[in-house]
């Protein structure tokens, strides 16, 4: 005799596999309507996307390089979400993280050996990202200024600040839009330089740092006191206050961890891939982190998969504009918007009926069990 089932919750595979996948299909379906609208063949577009993203060794390694960036910014959004905070400032925090990397490298790249420099780069990028997130967090905690709006404002302020610094202060030469290259033996080598058989791409070992960060975030959230406090604050601030959790401090700390994770993206992009600080190097990766976190249901494991998915979209989208003349790279923004919409905003569209159907079925089964007994 099978045990009596609870009728309120969906089994895990429905909740975290079936529903998100169906939502993804829905988003892609609406995207293909857009492709039809501009007079191109959606099946062909999908083929180009997939071939471009994972069909060749080169494509795949670029996809994984984008994935690395997105794991960082996705984790940044997710950890803030767990505290009930919506950090849209990943873009600016990652940008400042780039400043952290550049300042360390420009100062010490010919002085310090690679391992020490690498550690300094990690610390510095995380620190700069965390500092840029501190003020929005502080203003949210102390003054109730909503982080959604303040972090957006901080993105614009970061853009102006970095524009000034790169053009006038740390750029190479007069009015340059990038710094000088960091010394060749001071930067992280790329995979194709380390091993034979890798295609020439920006893919590099920083992906291990990203995977480690994902693990660290999981450990922090579900295995430590601080993580518990973060989740309680996100679940119910009043309850947290009554439980003696210092809500304001947790809000600021969470924002800083979030900013630090976003800042780490610069380790991949600035230190390891581009080897110099370029104007607007973040290129929207901070924003895509939001989609990654939502698609990954704010769980580090989900985020790794979602980061790969969006990494593939970024890489495949680049191919798209070369292969099909009526399509531009910005189609991936459309897909991104639709994915956010269907997986997060319109979650109940699928989940609601499914939950009702499931609990009805469970009820029938339980009734049968009771009748038998």
């Amino acid at each position: 005799m099978s045990a009596k089932l609870k009728n309120t919750e969906l089994p895990w595979w429905m909740s975290v596999v079936l529903v998100p996948l169906t939502q993804l299909v829905l988003a892609l379906f609406v995207s293909s309507l857009v492709v039809l609208m501009v007079g191109e063949d959606p099946i062909k577009a999908l083929k180009v996307l997939i071939t471009g993203a994972v069909g060749t060794n080169e494509g795949l390694s670029y996809t994984l390089y984008y994935t690395t960036n997105l794991i960082f910014t996705g984790l940044a959004v997710a950890i803030a979400f767990h505290a009930g905070l919506f950090n849209i400032g990943g873009e600016g925090q990652a940008y400042l993280g780039g400043l952290g990397v550049a300042l360390v490298c420009l100062s010490f790249d010919s002085v310090l050996p690679l391992p020490i420099l690498f550690i300094l780069v990690i610390l510095s990028s995380a620190l700069f990202g965390a500092l840029w997130a501190f003020l929005p967090g502080f203003l949210q905690a102390q003054r109730g200024a909503h982080v959604v709006v303040t972090t957006i404002m901080f993105n614009y302020i970061a853009a102006a600040l970095m524009n000034y610094l790169i053009v006038y202060k740390i750029g190479s030469g007069q009015a340059s839009n990038e710094t000088r290259y960091f010394a060749e033996d001071a930067v992280m080598p790329k995979f194709y330089q380390l091993f034979d058989g890798f295609e020439n791409s920006l893919f590099n070992p920083t992906i291990f740092l990203a995977l480690f960060s994902a693990f660290a975030v999981w450990y922090l959230l579900w295995r430590t006191r601080l993580g518990y406090a973060i989740r309680v604050v996100g679940f119910n601030q009043k309850a947290a206050t009554y439980a003696g959790i210092p809500v304001k401090r947790i809000v600021v700390i969470t924002m800083m961890i979030s900013g630090a994770l976003a800042g780490l993206m610069a380790v991949n992009e600035v230190y390891s891939a581009q080897n110099r600080l370029i104007l607007s190097f973040t290129g929207g990766i901070g924003f895509i982190g939001i989609a990654v976190a939502l698609m990954g249901r704010n769980h580090p494991l989900g985020i790794i998969f979602a980061a790969f998915l969006f990494g593939a979209l970024l890489q495949g989208g680049t191919e798209l504009q070369f292969e099909m003349q009526n399509l531009s790279r910005e189609l991936i923004l459309v897909i991104q918007g639709l994915v956010i919409f269907f997986t997060a905003a319109l979650d109940q569209l699928l989940r609601g009926p499914l939950e009702r159907w499931y609990s009805y079925r469970v009820m029938l089964q339980n009734n049968k069990l009771m009748a038998e007994a």
Partner: protein
């Protein structure tokens, strides 16, 4: 240096262009005000304006008609607003996430369609004089400028010579104020944002009121967007709204969810933005300082240094009928 800043700030030209920058903010902020007062957080103002800017310029250049352009902008704003309503009201989704999705969608969609339809890298064709809003010279501008000292200059250089939409934006503020505070509809609209259960027990549909509010929001966003591509410029360019939707939202909060306060915030941001262009002449201060200034001031205002602003009570919460 301070003298230079003061001189730039106090000039009629700064006020004139400040008014121009403030106009789309006013439309979007009034849109946001209506949505938020009815209980819907709308971070998608930005996306709706961008879509409106594109639709307006595209329709005006294809049909050659200003009116059809503006109507197209309104329509697209309304459609996106209803999508937001579907997600937040019917399916009880998160308001911020839904708004953000709309922003992404609009940002990608405008460029994708523009690229495919007009083959100009996402831009629309340039609008001719009959297809866009042009400056209107108010009556007696010359006479007053020549005869009345200060007011004459103000009248001729700031008030006169704006496009129709600039004047319309002030009318809209008045209408929104009147609608919200002087009509039954407005009373109900504010009530669903504060205490939806009370409205429900009076036999009025909470969802219905929120949808109606969102329709108005979408229409106003559309016009605000059209201002960018049909008045300030003569074509659509990618990302041309450049965060105006977010600033408008900040203006609603700093204006404490009241029309006139919100208008004041919009005008302040407009003048600050105008300052950026004028400040290139100030020696010793990098222009980036002035680029960042509107955003910095926004943060300072949001941090509540002008007193606490309290959001509508039921904002962002889906309404679930009690049984």
């Amino acid at each position: 240096m301070l003298e230079q800043i003061w001189a730039a700030l106090a000039s009629w030209t700064t006020l004139d262009s400040g008014l121009r920058y403030a106009t789309p903010l006013i439309f979007a902020a009034m849109a946001g005000l209506i949505a938020e007062r009815s209980g819907t957080v709308d971070i998608g103002l930005e996306g709706k304006m961008l879509a409106g800017a594109f639709a307006g310029a595209a329709a005006a250049s294809v049909t050659g008609s200003i009116l059809l352009g503006v109507l197209a902008a309104m329509l697209i704003g309304m459609l996106l607003s209803l999508v937001h309503g579907l997600a937040t009201i019917k399916y009880k989704g998160d308001h911020v996430i839904s708004g953000l999705a709309i922003n992404f969608f609009a940002s990608g969609m405008t460029i994708t369609l523009g690229h495919a339809w007009f083959k100009r890298g996402g831009q629309t064709p340039t609008l001719g004089d009959g297809q866009r809003f042009t400056d209107i010279t108010l009556p007696f501008a010359e006479t007053l400028k020549n005869n009345v000292p200060i007011f004459g200059d103000f009248y001729a250089d700031v008030l006169s010579g704006q496009t129709l939409l600039v004047y319309l934006s002030f009318v809209v503020v008045f209408l929104v104020w009147w609608m919200l505070f002087k009509t039954t509809f407005g009373l109900r609209l504010r009530a669903v944002g504060e205490e939806p259960s009370a409205v429900d027990s009076a036999g009025i549909s909470v969802a219905g009121m929120r949808y109606k509010a969102l329709i108005l929001t979408g229409i106003l966003c559309g016009v605000g967007g059209a201002y960018f591509s049909m008045a300030q410029n003569a074509q659509f360019g990618r990302e041309m709204t450049a965060g105006a939707g977010y600033i408008a939202l900040a203006a609603v909060i700093t204006g404490k969810w009241r029309p006139w306060g919100t208008l004041a915030a919009c005008l302040l941001f407009g003048v600050l933005t105008a300052l950026e262009g004028r400040m290139a002449v100030v020696q010793g201060v990098p222009t980036q300082v002035f680029t960042a200034l509107p955003y910095i001031i926004t943060v300072i205002l949001l941090a509540g240094f002008i007193g606490k602003s309290i959001a509508p009570k039921a904002i962002g919460k889906p309404y679930v009928k009690e049984r």
